[in-house]
């Protein structure tokens, strides 16, 4: 035990030093704030190179099996790296969908062949993954998706459209939820789950402009696209269960992710700094009673969220509802981020209205941009309202 702790500490020191030496300089262009906002080739190449470097240094997928390209270490090692990345404001690991949901899913239930084929490419960012769940007409009510996959010899023929596909322009693979049987009694029973290739004839992506004016996700069209039957995950008709397992990984309610941050870290301390610089009614905003009160509220909330992650690992202190903290993580942190950015905009007086590109905007327009981008996590991956439904129903046992 003592020895273990000592080696973790030594490891941490090594990690701190590595990131200090290797975090790249800010490039001459604006980086995205999360994997859902990678909008230009420049941004993409920069982030892919960085992920590759982190992996090659041994700091990604540390707890995944060595046989497939992982590190074979206990989870605690990866956790140290992930915290340190956040602490040092490192750029995020862009292949998030592969690292933190498709990857764990493949390790959890994929064939030996799938593990050999996909895991390493996820880690070294050779193979970018995207997720084809949402459709123009069916988002929250995911069980209703209509994109069709029809068995045809040793292939499925896919028709329909997915939308809000993050990284759609760059992905080599997609985790795809499609309807293989339109006639089932339950909407869920007709669904199947695929590890679909993207670079096949009949699949096209079209970039969609985000509310900030930047790009980030695509609409994905399937026009008689043929994908091999071997890329199905689970059996035909079991797609819903597989998708739910994926969402457990995605929302952090189940462990097994490769690790690394998937969005830039925003801390209350950054807003405290801003409050020192910004003026409100002619005085530093930090002297304003209202601003102080708000900042303290956020500091308490931030601390509580950090502490809850620690408490979640102490069984005696979560015995009544063991899953409550993990299941609510996305809701708590995404809403927190959105509200924190609102505060940051509001404490700058009229200057809060300046946007990216304006030479006088605080932190190069970071806060209004971050606020608008913060909706990516309150909408993507299941909206906050849907999260509240899920927590109410699954954690508290309230009726549907």
């Amino acid at each position: 035990m003592q020895e273990n702790r000592a080696s973790l500490e030594a490891f941490k020191a090594e990690v701190v030093a590595w990131f200090e030496a290797n975090i790249p300089e800010q490039p001459g262009f604006l980086l995205p704030e999360s994997f859902m906002e990678v909008g230009t080739d420049q941004q993409f190449e920069f982030l892919r190179t960085w992920q590759r470097k982190v992996y090659e240094a041994g700091y990604l997928g540390m707890s995944w099996p060595e046989a497939y390209g992982g590190g074979g270490y206990p989870q605690a090692y990866q956790d140290i790296v992930t915290s340190e990345m956040a602490r040092q404001n490192a750029p995020f690991m862009m292949n998030t969908i592969g690292l933190n949901w498709a990857g764990p899913l493949i390790l959890h239930m994929g064939s030996e062949d799938a593990k050999n084929r996909y895991i390493k490419g996820i880690l070294n960012a050779d193979d970018i993954w995207c997720q084809g769940f949402s459709e123009p007409d069916h988002g929250s009510d995911l069980g209703k998706v209509q994109t069709k996959a029809v068995l045809d010899g040793n292939e499925y023929r896919v028709n329909g459209s997915k939308i809000w596909t993050s990284l759609g322009s760059y992905a080599k693979y997609m985790i795809l939820l499609a309807r293989t049987n339109p006639d089932t009694e339950s909407k869920y029973a007709g669904l199947s789950f695929f590890l679909s290739p993207m670079h096949v004839p009949g699949i096209e992506t079209r970039p969609i402009r985000k509310l900030t004016g930047e790009y980030g996700f695509t609409q994905t069209f399937f026009n008689d696209a043929r994908i091999p039957t071997s890329c199905i995950m689970g059996n035909e008709g079991e797609g819903w269960q597989v998708a739910m397992t994926t969402l457990m990984f995605e929302r952090g309610a189940a462990g097994g992710q490769a690790g690394g941050i998937s969005m830039i870290d925003l801390r209350v301390d950054d807003v405290v700094e801003l409050a020192r610089e910004a003026k409100r009614d002619g005085a530093p905003a930090i002297e304003d009673y209202y601003v102080r009160e708000q900042l303290v509220r956020f500091l308490i909330e931030e601390k509580a969220n950090q502490l809850s992650r620690v408490r979640a690992r102490i069984p005696a202190l979560v015995s009544e509802r063991p899953s409550a903290i993990a299941m609510s993580g996305k809701l708590r942190t995404s809403e927190f981020r959105r509200r924190l950015c609102q505060l940051a905009i509001g404490l700058q007086g009229a200057n809060g209205a300046r946007f990216i590109g304006d030479s006088q905007s605080a932190d190069a327009g970071k806060w209004p941009r971050s606020y608008l981008n913060a909706f990516s996590a309150t909408i993507g991956g299941g909206t906050s309202q849907i999260q509240a439904n899920i927590i109410g129903e699954r954690v508290l046992g309230l009726p549907k």
Binding site: E9, A86, R87, V296, V310, L317, L398
Partner: protein, 378 residues
């Protein structure tokens, strides 16, 4: 959001002894303090069951944070938290909190001789209380009007104290007074009080018993005064401990009232649907859960770092969060029971009224945020 990556000292630790205590406290309080029993006691004079108090003493809980040399088991303040939380959960009222606050003040501020005089008795069941607050209801514990004037080796006290909990049954009191222009702490024994010195106060929380204590004419030997140099630190210690234990109680109460809400939302039907299926009830109930989870994390963190420099920040954060979230929970619990929620019979009021009272003892959320600001922002 980054995780606290300090490996050396975990921000929350919970050792085997605490696990056991939490377990014991849960089964003890569940057995002794059904809601029906709590309601019986609302009408009683003392507000608690003397038999249960004896059992608590026998379990050693009154000495749990007192060193062995004074008759305790020396498990530390850390060990008080699961007990206070569970008592809050089951609304089990006894003089436990009053006695603990008083004994910890003595432990913090008394001379060795004084500790030997009082602490072993407390471990064995003496009831103690604190007489700190005055008519203005100030949360500044150094804002004192009561006086002590010495004639030879006798102190003559004057003034009045309020919110002296469990005073009718208390054997000793730790009292704050001004002495030679400075705050001082004096320990009074029951028989030194005048007749009619105690008057019951009517407070919003009917599970507690609060009294006004008149000190006029009380005389006590100077050897009952705690050493002058310890006064300020002892008051600060009290402030932190009271807020920690109140926060723990509030966390317990919130856990309980959440279950009261869930029970109703999963059984009551309107428009042919269980009312818990309505999102305008479901989502705020989730918010109660999130508030509770945050408060428990902050409370157990404050207990963990009790002996460290982060104590004040941790305790104030816990109390600020606990007050707000507990009141939100109690408030929504009343609303979500409809007409029944408006009745005395509905249990929601028990938790709401207790939370309203607890927030006003030793500082509400806004007060603690105000005191956190300079600690966190400078």
């Amino acid at each position: 959001m980054s995780e606290d990556s300090n490996i050396k000292s975990a921000p929350i630790s919970f050792n085997d002894e605490q696990v056991m205590l939490l377990d014991t406290a849960m089964s003890f309080c569940r057995e002794k303090s059904s809601v029906a029993r709590v309601r019986d006691l609302l009408l009683s004079d003392s507000g608690y069951d003397a038999g249960i108090w004896q059992e608590i003493v026998a379990l050693g809980w009154t000495g749990i944070a007192i060193p062995e040399e004074f008759g305790g088991s020396e498990l530390g303040v850390n060990a008080l938290v699961p007990i206070a939380e569970t008592m809050g959960r089951f609304l089990l009222t006894t003089p436990f909190i009053s006695t603990t606050l008083a004994s910890q003040m003595i432990l913090q501020g008394a001379s060795e001789e004084q500790k030997t005089r009082w602490l072993p008795g407390i471990c064995e069941g003496l009831i103690a209380s604190i007489a700190i607050t005055e008519d203005e209801g100030s949360w500044d514990l150094e804002d004192i009007r009561c006086k002590a004037i010495a004639h030879e080796d006798v102190l003559h006290l004057s003034g009045s104290k309020t919110f002296v909990f469990d005073a009718r049954k208390a054997d000793i009191f730790v009292v704050s007074v001004m002495y030679e222009g400075m705050p001082a702490l004096v320990v009074l024994e029951k028989d030194q009080l005048n007749e009619n010195a105690l008057r019951r106060e009517v407070i919003i929380d009917e599970t507690r018993r609060s009294f006004r204590l008149t000190l006029d004419g009380v005389q006590v030997k100077t050897r009952n005064m705690l050493p002058a140099g310890n006064t300020i630190s002892t008051l600060a210690h009290l402030n932190m401990l009271a807020n920690l234990l109140l926060s723990a109680e509030l966390a317990g109460g919130t856990a309980a009232v959440l279950n009261v809400v869930i029970e109703y939302l999963t059984t009551r039907k309107q428009f042919d649907r269980l009312i818990g299926s309505y999102q305008s009830l479901k989502h705020p109930t989730v918010e109660i859960l999130l508030g509770l989870e945050s408060m428990r994390s902050l409370v157990y963190h404050a207990a963990t770092v009790w002996d460290e420099q982060q104590r004040e920040v941790a305790v104030r954060m816990a109390k600020a969060q606990a007050c707000e979230a507990a009141i939100f929970a109690g408030d929504r619990a009343v609303q979500f029971h409809g007409g029944f929620g408006f009745t005395y019979e509905c249990d929601a009021q028990l938790y709401l009224r207790r939370a309203l009272c607890s927030q006003l003892l030793f500082g509400d959320a806004a007060h603690h945020r105000k005191h956190l600001a300079p600690l966190l922002l400078s």
